[in-house]
């Protein structure tokens, strides 16, 4: 029934369209080809001008309406130290392209209107002007040079890897279908070795438990980081491509199976500070659940998020982890409460290469533990 209706209405539309076409052709006949063309020119010339005005007004108005979403404007200022450079590049590019956009559109549609075919009108024979060509080659060239230099300056700074003598925190994010697995190095500050062939249900990252650097590694369910400390994220994948994407921090890097990548950034605002900034904006002063006025306001409920930005299969849109940026003391507190994955899940099980020695170790004096572990590793 609905299908029939749909088909019928389609046929109806087709008939109307065809009739409309016929009427216009009749009009053409009655008024004469030439008169008709002049009328068409007048109309469409006017429409060009109208479109120009409406279009520019709409782009500018919508831009203002959504200005809070522009990079570096409004509440979405970057929450990392390098992000400002990028947001600034965005603003500079917006400035130049905005001018070009407006001017070329004015020229395009104004000329269309101004030079519409008129009765007895004649086109000028203007075939070229080499000086003009040079001018309008050089102007974009100069602007581009400026943008390239400024852009690359920012790029090389942002993408620089850490140097060995620097102090930084290294964490690891591993993409899999469809979740992010996180790993912190634990007190030794070092991530242990991995081998994808060792991956199993109880060993999601394929950590090599004979490598004692693995024993203190933590598998948290959220990223927690201290504000103002440099972080190097080691990014890997277990299966297909993923992309480690922290929108608020202007961080994005593919996770490639078999080829660890990295991104270095320094969080500059704690979650709480960011919430306080959001508080100043109306759109964040509404309840998160529109049906429940008692629920938290959006700024109160805000959290940084980690997402995936490289198509990885049917669950690509759901690879979320929360990111919390906290003051140093709170971070240390959080860290000290985390138990290493080895301790919580592996130790003493069949997966533990030190199983036989576990008892020995636990009974041994603390200074002997390291020796025993080293022995076991060999």
């Amino acid at each position: 029934m609905t299908a029939l209706l749909a088909v019928l209405s389609l046929i109806l539309i087709a008939i109307i369209v065809v009739q409309l076409g016929k009427v216009s052709e009749l009009a053409r006949k009655i008024r004469g080809e030439e008169e008709m063309q002049l009328m068409v020119n007048r109309r469409n010339g006017a429409l060009s001008l109208l479109f120009l005005i409406v279009f520019l007004a709409a782009t500018i108005a919508s831009g203002l309406y959504y200005k809070n979403w522009f990079l570096g404007f409004g509440p979405h200022a970057s929450a990392s130290q390098h992000g400002g450079a990028l947001d600034n590049m965005f603003a500079v590019t917006l400035f130049f392209t905005g001018i070009v956009f407006v001017l070329t559109h004015i020229a395009l549609f104004y000329f269309a209107w101004r030079y519409q075919g008129r009765r007895g009108g004649k086109a000028e024979f203007l075939s070229h002007n080499n000086r003009l060509e040079v001018v309008w080659t050089l102007i974009p060239a100069v602007v581009m040079t400026f943008l390239v230099i400024k852009g690359l300056d920012a790029w090389n700074e942002v993408m620089a890897d850490v140097s060995p003598e620097e102090e930084y925190i290294e964490i690891e994010a591993t993409g899999m279908q469809f979740a992010w697995l996180l790993r912190y190095p634990g007190p030794d500050g070092k991530l242990g070795a991995r081998d994808y062939k060792k991956i199993s249900a109880s060993n999601p990252l394929g950590q090599d438990w004979t490598d004692t650097k693995n024993h203190d590694d933590i598998h948290p369910t959220e990223i927690v980081l201290p504000v103002g400390k440099k972080v190097r994220v080691r990014i890997t994948s277990r299966d297909v491509l993923h992309n480690f994407y922290l929108p608020h921090f202007r961080v994005k890097m593919d996770a490639v199976p078999g080829m660890p990548t990295y991104f270095v950034f320094t969080p500059s605002k704690t979650t709480e500070e960011y919430r306080q900034e959001l508080k100043n904006y109306d759109e964040y002063n509404v309840p998160i659940d529109p049906d429940d006025p008692e629920s938290l306001l959006k700024w109160e409920a805000f959290d940084y998020e980690l997402a995936c930005a490289e198509l990885c299969g049917k669950g690509h849109f759901s690879m979320k982890r929360l990111v919390k940026i906290v003051p140093e003391a709170e971070y240390q507190d959080w860290l000290s409460k985390q138990q290493s994955y080895y301790e919580s899940t592996i130790k003493g099980t069949d997966d533990d290469p030190f199983k036989s020695e576990t008892d020995a170790i636990s009974e041994a004096a603390p200074e002997e533990v390291e020796d025993l572990q080293e022995e076991a590793a060999e």
């Binding site: 479109f51 590049m89 392209t97 549609f109 070229h128 003009l132 994808y196 078999g258 198509l311």
Partner: protein
């Protein structure tokens, strides 16, 4: 000379028959033409035709079929994005198990089929519609007609070119009905997702058919391309020097060269993926654990595939846009009754763009894990492309300046093209700067960029071409009132669809997301997404208008009464209204001047076959 009408402002201005009798030359074609052995019956005339004009129509109609299929797919996934709560159960009769209906009777699009639809949409539009449907149609139609050739250098290869495209179409169409669904890994088909059947239901048989289809497709493009290049180089009529060719021919010619250099690289990437899939080689795969199993692949690199793909992929976007640029140049010039401004600058900028298009590919890979240092070079070359692109824009605008513009669907779409190319090109400048791309990569900003600059702009070029050359194809006109309604509706509609996506992208909303509800960051735009979906549906409605107009006009459109309705100077309008195989029944025209003598010396236009007049200066 006496036969040639002197300047008047109304058509007909010249009698092309007499012109050709006087200035054309005899290539003895008509002796063979009697009893044309190539067009003996219905099958050789309309199906396995070797006439470039028929082949052009075959490309066009097949392209239109795919455009409708591809657009309908986009409407389905837009419904999912714009109205995630609404039931799609009513689509079940068409989409079957792609729609999952829960106990409450609410139907939703299954995520894997959302991705299948997005992938098919991209593949179909990029390859079948905007490559085959655009350059296949108009290179075929216009190259022989505008350079004064009887047909392509090899009509037989030309026929094969279409039939390989047809074969590709059949295989791709078949893949839509697979039990496991068509390929769902994105039109770029990055491994390991595309290489491992375990990774996604579409990566099994769906991917196999996808690759097979596209390999046939590449054969089609290469056969076509060799032919276009050979034809342009060898079959130009007397007097048609390279510098007298219309910009359409320049753009088809350069497009074919780019295609010949880039498509083979795509095929090699595909072959290596197939080796990885079927022969357990490790070109692109390394250390993978999937479905509770560690695979044996070692030492390959998924990034290598991306290099190969984009070495093809970036030139491909110019393969799509250059023919549109050429046709728009022609249409704007003809209908503003002025020479194209800066003809040589236009040619040089095409050449510059073509060259640069081969050394910018890694701008798609800034965030792929390639060494950030390498990106420096790609940023430089990428932003340099903006310069020849800007030159082209300025020249189009200058072509309108001082004109006597005849508004019709063709010229309007030409103007619309320039607007789209500006809007989309400018956002390329953001993306080309790797620092900004950190944030914008793989967000809706990219979607906005390439749909405006490539998708919509190329469609506008195609529409301009169709409205302008429809009379040459079918001897009738399309209804221009409907054409103008089609234009204004599409211009406004397309901007309404794609402009807001910039805002989504700036806010960080990633592309290829089935749902935005999981993330607070991306969930602020339900209203905007609804708006986009509605705009897309309305814009699609205007395309229906076009389709009706097109098919109605083939049979019932206003008949052409003069052979050169636009008063154009190029050669295709010197052929008879009903153009037979061989194009010119008698002599082939000889070319005496460039293609853009509009408004010169007080004459509204001077056809290319008219020799320099006494005292005429500046004959190109």
């Amino acid at each position: 000379m006496a036969n040639v009408a002197t300047p008047v402002t109304t058509t007909p201005k010249y009698d092309e028959d007499l012109l050709i009798e006087e200035y054309g030359y005899d290539d003895h074609f008509h002796e063979h033409h009697e009893g044309d052995k190539y067009q003996a019956n219905f099958i050789t005339t309309y199906i396995f035709s070797q006439d470039h004009k028929i082949i052009a129509k075959q490309f066009l109609i097949t392209g239109m079929f795919w455009a409708i299929v591809g657009a309908l797919m986009s409407l389905v996934f837009r419904l999912q994005l714009g109205f995630p709560e609404e039931s799609l159960a009513w689509l079940k009769p068409v989409l079957g198990k792609w729609i999952v209906v829960n106990d409450a009777g609410v139907g939703t699009l299954a995520p894997e089929f959302y991705y299948a639809l997005v992938t098919m949409h991209g593949t179909i539009l990029v390859f079948f519609v905007l490559t085959a449907g655009l350059s296949g149609t108009f290179s075929n139609l216009l190259i022989p007609l505008q350079i004064g050739a009887r047909d392509m250098a090899s009509p037989f290869l030309n026929m094969l070119s279409y039939w390989f495209f047809f074969l590709a179409s059949v295989v791709m169409f078949f893949s839509l009905f697979l039990n496991t669904g068509p390929f769902a890994g994105g039109w770029t088909a990055y491994p390991p997702l595309s290489a491992l059947p375990q990774a996604s239901s579409g990566s099994g048989a769906g991917m196999t058919l996808w690759v097979v289809s596209l390999v046939f497709f590449v054969v089609s493009v290469l056969l076509g391309g060799i032919n276009y290049i050979t034809t342009v180089l060898n079959l130009r009529t007397k007097g048609m020097s390279m510098w007298r060719m219309p910009l359409t021919i320049w753009s088809f010619f350069i497009t074919a060269i780019i295609g010949l250099l880039s498509f083979p690289v795509l095929v090699s990437a595909f072959f290596l993926v197939v080796f990885d899939r079927e022969l357990n080689t490790s070109f692109f795969l390394n250390e993978i654990f999937i479905n509770n199993q560690a695979l044996d692949y070692a030492g390959g690199s998924p990034v290598l595939y991306q290099h190969l793909f984009w070495f093809f992929g970036h030139p491909e976007v110019y393969i799509i846009i250059l023919p549109a640029m050429g046709m728009v140049s022609e249409v704007l010039s003809v209908h503003s009754r002025k020479p194209i401004f800066g003809y040589k600058a236009m040619v040089f900028s095409i050449l510059a763009i073509a060259f640069l298009s081969f050394i910018v590919w890694a701008h798609h890979m800034f965030m792929s894990g390639v060494n950030p240092f390498i990106s420096n070079f790609f940023v430089v070359f990428t932003l340099i492309i903006a310069v020849p692109s800007a030159v082209k824009v300025f020249n189009w605008i200058a072509t309108l300046y001082g004109g006597n513009i005849r508004f019709n669907a063709a010229s309007l779409f030409g103007i619309g093209f320039v607007s789209m190319f500006i809007s989309g090109g400018l956002t390329g400048i953001f993306l080309g700067n790797s620092a900004i791309d950190i944030q914008l990569h793989d967000t809706y900003f990219v979607v906005a960029h390439f749909h405006i600059v490539m998708g919509v702009a190329a469609f506008f070029g195609m529409f301009a071409g169709i409205y302008n050359w429809f009379p040459k194809m079918y001897g009738r006109f399309m209804n221009d009132t409907l054409g103008k309604i089609h234009f204004w509706g599409t211009l406004v509609g397309a901007y309404a669809v794609f402009w807001p996506m910039h805002y989504l992208g700036m806010a960080g909303v990633p592309r290829r997301y089935y749902s935005f509800d999981n993330f607070e960051t991306f969930s602020h735009f339900a209203g905007l997404n609804q708006f986009i979906t509605i705009a897309a549906i309305v814009t699609f409605g205007f395309q229906i208008l076009f389709v009706i107009n097109f098919f109605y006009s083939i049979w019932y459109g206003k008949k052409m009464t003069t052979r050169n309705p636009w008063g154009a100077s190029t050669l295709e309008w010197t052929t008879p209204i009903k153009t037979g195989h061989g194009n010119w029944p008698g002599k082939v025209p000889t070319v005496q001047r460039w293609a853009y003598d509009y408004g010169k010396d007080g004459k509204e236009y001077i056809p290319q076959i008219v020799p320099a007049q006494e005292g005429e200066t500046n004959v190109h």
